[in-house]
Symmetry: C2
Subunit: 592 residues, 2 copies
C-alpha cells in the first residue's frame, strides 16, 4: 500500500493578524517540508485566527482573508514550498448562496483550502455548524455542501472541519462512501477539563465509521476566554491510536502512514446527506517505498508514538498559564499588576503569572487597611520572597479617611469602599506604569456575587475566574508539590493555603459569615451551574433545602456582577463567560 | 361573511416572572372579554417573558413554563373566561425531537398555545428561528413544523410567531395554501429607529402573500437592553391598514373584522415547506351579525382607526424612558443616582430619569475637582432647579490629595484617577442609600473608548449608551421644545446644550483635543459601525484618510472598554451590546 508522511502543525495564531499568521504558516510549512512531509496541515481558520466572531460579517475582513490566502499560496511557491500540498483554514464567503433575510451578511464561510504550486487547488466550508456553548456559527456562517477529496501520491484524502466530526452524519459517512484512504480533520476545539478523553473516543468512533485512518489536527494557544490545548491525534480505521501530539504546545506532529491506494477512477457524485464529492488529483502516483523517519529534534512524532499526558491538576494549571500568557502577549502587555492579599486566590494568580511571563514582570502590591491581619502582609511578603516578583505596600488608610470625611458610610457601603479604593489604586498604578491588572476572583465567589464591583473585580483579565475555590486550593498544592519535585522553592506560602479565607473588610470577618463552607458550596455549584440541575434535583442529592435555596438565590441574582467581571480562561463547559448567557432582569427563582 | 372581534393585547411582561405574567394575562383577558372579544391574543413568550436566553436550556424552567400554561388555562376557565379562545406565547419543549449532539439540551421550543375551556386546544412552535443581531434562537430552540389553524366562529385563523413573517417561505404561503381567513402573528420584536416603517411594509407584503387579513400583535416594555415598542398592526389582504395600536404603551387593540367563511371541510395535509396543517375547530358556526363596537375607554381601536404616530426624536426619547423605567422597576429599584457634571450627557440622562420615575426619585451629585469650571456647577444646579431632582455637592479634592500623596501619578493616570474617585463616590452613596447608579456615556464616546473604566463607566444602566453625541443634542433640544409646547419649564439648561463638551480632567481640556468634531465623528461612526463599511469605503465617501484611520483605530481597540460598560437601551441595529460581538484580542486593523 502507498505511504504518506503527514505533518500536522498544531500552531498558535492570533485573531485578525493575517500577516503574522501567514508568516507562521510559512515557517511551519518550511519546517514540515524540511522533515520530508508529503501533506501539510494547519488548524481551522489558522489564517484568520479563531473565533473571529462578528468580524465574519465585515466584508472588508472577509476580502482581506481571501486575498491573504491567495498571497500565502503564491508565497509558499516563491519560497520553494510549492510542491507540497498545504491544507489551511481561513475565512471565505459563499459565491453560490443567494442573499436572503436571516442569512449572515455576505454569506461568510468557515473554510479551508488546499494550496499547491502557488494556487488554490480546492476549497470547501465546514458542513456542520456548532451553535451552542461558546459557538455561534449559525450567526456567522453558511454551511458547506461538498465532500472534498484530494488525491496525494495515489491516496484519496477526504477533508473535514471540526464539528463535521462531532455531529452525526455528513462528511464522516460520506468519507466511507467515497472510499477515501484517510480522513483529515482540521480543528479549533477549545479546552475543557476532561475533553481530551471525549475527543479521543470521538475520533476513534469516527475513524471506524469513516472506514479509514483519521487524522485530527488541533489548535493550540489562547484567544480571550478560550484556550486550545493541542493534543492532535491520529487513529487507525480500527480506532487504534497511531500518534498523539503534546498538550498545549505548538508542535509539528509528523506521522508516516501506510494507506490504501485510491481506486483508479476518482470518486464522484453525491455522497451521504446530499454532499457532492469534489475530487482533485494533486499526484496520482504512489511514492517509492521509503523508511519511516525516526523522531526528530523538535518534538515530531513518528507512528506509534504518543506524547506523555499531563496529570489532571497539571493540565488545568497549564491551561491557566497558557490562557494568561496568550492574552497578555497577543494584546501587547509585558507585565501584570495584582493586589496580593496574603490569601490563596491572589497567591495562586501570582504563581500562574510568574509561570506565564516570569516573576520579574509580575508586580504585586499589598494594600492593607485597619482591618487587615498581620499575616495578610507577612504571607504576601513571603510569596514575593519565594518567587522574586516585584512587591511593595500602599496602605489605603489616607484614602479611606478622605472618603469617610466626606460621606457617611456604614456596613456594606464601608466594606465595598475599601475594595474600591484598592481597585482604584491598582488602576492608577496600571495607567502610570502600563501593567495589565489581574482580577483574582474565583468561580465560587463569582457564582454567588461575593465580590465588589469596581473593587476586587477590576482588571483586564481574571485568570482563575472559572476555577472553583476548592480547586484553587488543589492547584496551589499541586504547584507547590511540582516545585518540590523539580527541586525548586514552592512558590505559595503554606499559610496562604491553610488559613480560613477572609475578605478582611471588617473586624474578624471570614467568608463563611456570608457563604456556606466551600466544600459544600462547590458541590452545590457543580450540580446547579455545571450540570444545570434544578433546585429539587439538587436537594434530592442530599443537601439541606435551606442552604440550597440560599445558594441558588445568590447565583440567580448575581448575573449583573458576573457580566461586569473581566474575561478569564475558560476550563469548564459552564463557565461565566460567553458559554452561559442569562438575562440580568430575571425573576425566575428555582422552586419558589 | 362572518364577523370576529379580535383583541390584540400588547402587554409588558418580565422574564422569569411566571406568576406575575399569568396575572397580567388573566387581567387583560378579562378586559378583552368584557369588551366582547371573540378571540384574544398575547405576545410571543408572554408567559415567560422574552428573551429568556439560557433559561431555555434549564429543564426546571421549561417544566415550570409548561405547568404555568396548564394552570393559566384552568384559571381562565375558573374565573369565567373559558369560553373565549386565548392565544398565548410560552416556553415548551419538543416531545418528538430525538436527542442529538448539537441540538439544544431538552429540545426547547418558542411556542404558543390556544387555551379554551380550561385546556390547551392546540400548541405549536416558531418555525423560522432568527439567529442574527440580538437573536440566538438556533442556540435555544427546536423549530416547529406545523401550520396551526383554528376555526373560530366559522373563520379559519392561521397562527404564526414573529420570525415566521420575517423570513420567506413557511407559514405565510402555507396560510394561503390552507385557505385561512386570517393570519394572526404574535411577536416580541425589539425596537429600532425606523423599524416601525419596515414592519409595516413587511406586514402589508405578507398579508398579500398569505391572501388574507393579517393581525400582527407586538410586545411592549423593556427587558435589559431591549425595548419593545408596541405598534400592533392589522392589515387587509390588499395591504390596507385596518388598525394600528399606540407605540410603547400597554394596550388592547380591539378590532372588528369581517372575514371569509371557512370551507366546510377543514384544511389538512402538507402545506408549503413541509409544514403539516394542524386544524382544530373551536366553534364552527358564524356569529349572528352584530354592530361593530365604538371606541372604548382604555384606548381600544376599532376598524379603520390608527393611533397617532410619535415624531422621530420623540420616538427615540420615549424608547429611552421606557427602557430605563422597565430596567428599574423589573429589577426592584425605585431611585437612581448620577453624577451631574453640567454637561449635556448627564443632563439628558437626568431628564430621561425624571420622565421615567419622577424627579423626586432622581438623585444627582456634583463632584467638582480643581479642574472643574464655574459653569459645570452652576449648570448642574440649574438643571436641579428646573426639574426638582435631589441635588448636592461632594468635592473630590480630599480624596484626590490622599491618592496623590501615596502614588506618583501624572498625565492620563491623574485624569483617570479623578473619574474613578467620582465613580467610587457614586457607588458608595448607592450602596449606602440603595439607588441604582446611571452611567451617562454616549455611543460616540463608547465607540472611541473615550471614557474611564471604573470611572464615568460605573453604574447599573447606561440610558444613552446607544445614542450618538449629535443625537444627544437633538434629543435635548426636542425635550426642551416639547416642554415649551406643553407649557412646562424646559428641563435642560441652554448652556449645557451649547457649550463645547469637555471632560474637565485637566486645565482647558475639550473633547476635540482627543476626538474629531462630533459632527464629523458621528458620520464616520455611522458608516463604520452602523453600516459595517470598510476603511476604503468610508474614505471614498469623502472623508480625510488620516481622520478615518484614526477613528477606526480607536473603535477597533476599544472593545474591552465597551464590554465592561453597563447595559443600556438599544435603539439601533448596531449598538454595543449583544448585537455586536467582537473579540477583545483582535489584531485586525482596517486597511493596514
Amino acid at each position: 500500500m502507498p505511504q504518506l508522511r503527514l505533518a500536522l502543525n498544531q500552531i498558535d495564531v492570533c485573531v485578525g493578524d493575517l500577516a503574522g499568521n501567514s508568516d507562521r504558516i510559512v515557517r511551519w510549512t518550511r519546517h514540515s517540508a524540511d522533515q520530508g512531509a508529503h501533506l501539510v496541515a494547519f488548524p481551522e481558520m489558522a489564517l484568520t485566527g479563531y473565533p473571529v466572531e462578528d468580524l465574519a460579517l465585515r466584508s472588508s475582513f472577509v476580502e482581506a482573508s481571501r486575498t491573504a490566502l491567495a498571497a500565502l499560496a503564491e508565497r509558499l511557491a516563491d519560497e520553494g514550498l510549492g510542491e507540497v500540498p498545504v491544507v489551511v483554514g481561513y475565512l471565505d464567503r459563499s459565491e453560490r448562496a443567494q442573499p436572503r433575510y436571516g442569512q449572515p451578511a455576505g454569506a461568510p464561510q468557515n473554510a479551508a483550502a488546499v494550496l499547491h504550486r502557488g494556487g488554490v487547488v480546492l476549497s470547501f466550508a465546514k458542513h456542520h455548524l456548532p451553535n451552542y456553548g461558546v459557538f455561534d456559527e449559525f450567526r456567522y456562517f453558511v454551511p458547506g455542501d461538498t465532500l472534498p477529496v484530494i488525491r496525494v501520491h495515489g491516496i484519496d484524502v477526504a477533508l473535514a472541519i471540526c464539528e463535521d466530526l462531532w455531529q452525526d452524519g455528513g462528511r464522516v459517512p460520506a468519507t466511507r462512501t467515497a472510499g477515501a484512504g484517510l480522513l483529515l480533520s482540521i480543528n479549533a476545539s477549545p479546552y475543557e477539563v476532561a475533553k481530551d478523553d471525549t475527543r479521543l473516543e470521538l475520533v476513534r468512533k469516527r475513524a471506524q465509521e469513516a472506514g479509514c485512518t483519521l487524522a485530527y489536527l488541533a489548535m493550540t494557544g489562547g484567544q480571550d476566554e478560550l484556550v486550545f490545548d493541542g493534543d492532535s491525534i491520529v487513529v487507525s480505521e480500527e480506532g487504534e491510536v497511531i500518534t498523539r501530539a503534546p498538550q498545549f504546545e505548538e508542535s509539528c506532529a509528523l506521522v508516516d502512514l501506510v494507506l490504501p491506494a485510491a481506486a483508479e477512477e476518482a470518486p464522484s457524485g453525491m455522497a451521504d446527506d446530499g454532499l457532492e464529492i469534489e475530487h482533485r488529483t494533486i499526484s496520482a502516483e504512489p511514492l517509492s517505498a521509503y523508511e519511516p523517519q525516526a523522531r526528530g529534534e523538535r518534538g515530531e512524532h513518528k507512528s506509534g508514538e504518543q506524547s506523555p499526558r499531563l496529570g489532571d491538576d497539571e493540565e488545568i494549571y497549564v491551561a491557566l498559564v497558557v490562557g494568561l500568557r496568550a492574552y497578555l502577549t497577543k494584546n501587547g502587555f509585558r507585565s501584570v499588576l495584582l493586589g496580593l492579599s496574603g490569601g490563596i486566590d491572589s497567591a495562586l494568580v501570582a504563581a500562574i503569572a510568574c509561570d506565564a511571563i516570569g516573576a520579574r514582570n509580575v508586580y504585586a502590591v499589598s494594600m492593607p487597611s485597619r482591618y487587615s491581619s498581620e499575616h495578610s502582609q507577612s504571607d504576601a511578603a513571603e510569596m514575593a520572597r519565594r518567587t522574586g516578583l516585584n512587591y511593595w505596600t500602599v496602605p489605603i488608610g489616607p484614602m479611606f479617611d478622605a472618603y469617610m470625611g466626606s460621606l457617611h458610610l456604614t456596613g456594606l457601603a464601608e466594606e465595598n469602599l475599601q475594595a474600591r479604593l484598592r481597585g482604584t489604586t491598582l488602576m492608577a498604578i496600571s495607567n502610570q506604569e502600563g501593567h495589565l491588572v489581574l482580577a483574582t476572583g474565583n468561580k465560587s465567589e463569582l457564582a454567588c456575587g461575593y465580590s465588589t464591583l469596581y473593587g476586587d473585580a477590576v482588571g483586564g483579565f481574571a485568570p482563575i475566574k472559572d476555577v472553583l475555590k476548592t480547586k484553587v486550593w488543589e492547584l496551589a498544592r499541586w504547584r507547590n508539590a511540582a516545585a518540590v519535585e523539580r527541586g525548586q522553592t514552592p512558590p505559595i506560602p503554606e499559610n496562604s493555603i491553610v488559613k480560613p479565607p477572609s475578605a478582611e473588610l471588617r473586624p474578624g470577618q471570614v467568608d463563611t459569615d456570608s457563604l456556606p463552607d466551600y466544600e459544600l458550596l462547590d458541590r452545590i455549584l457543580d450540580l446547579y451551574v455545571e450540570q444545570d440541575q434544578g433546585r429539587e434535583a439538587v436537594i434530592a442529592t442530599g443537601f439541606d433545602a435551606e442552604t440550597v435555596t440560599r445558594v441558588l438565590r445568590l447565583v440567580d441574582t448575581a448575573e449583573y456582577k458576573r457580566r461586569q467581571y473581566p474575561p478569564g480562561t475558560k476550563i469548564t463547559a459552564k463557565g461565566f463567560g460567553k458559554d452561559r448567557r442569562l438575562p440580568i432582569t430575571n425573576r425566575w427563582r428555582e422552586g419558589s
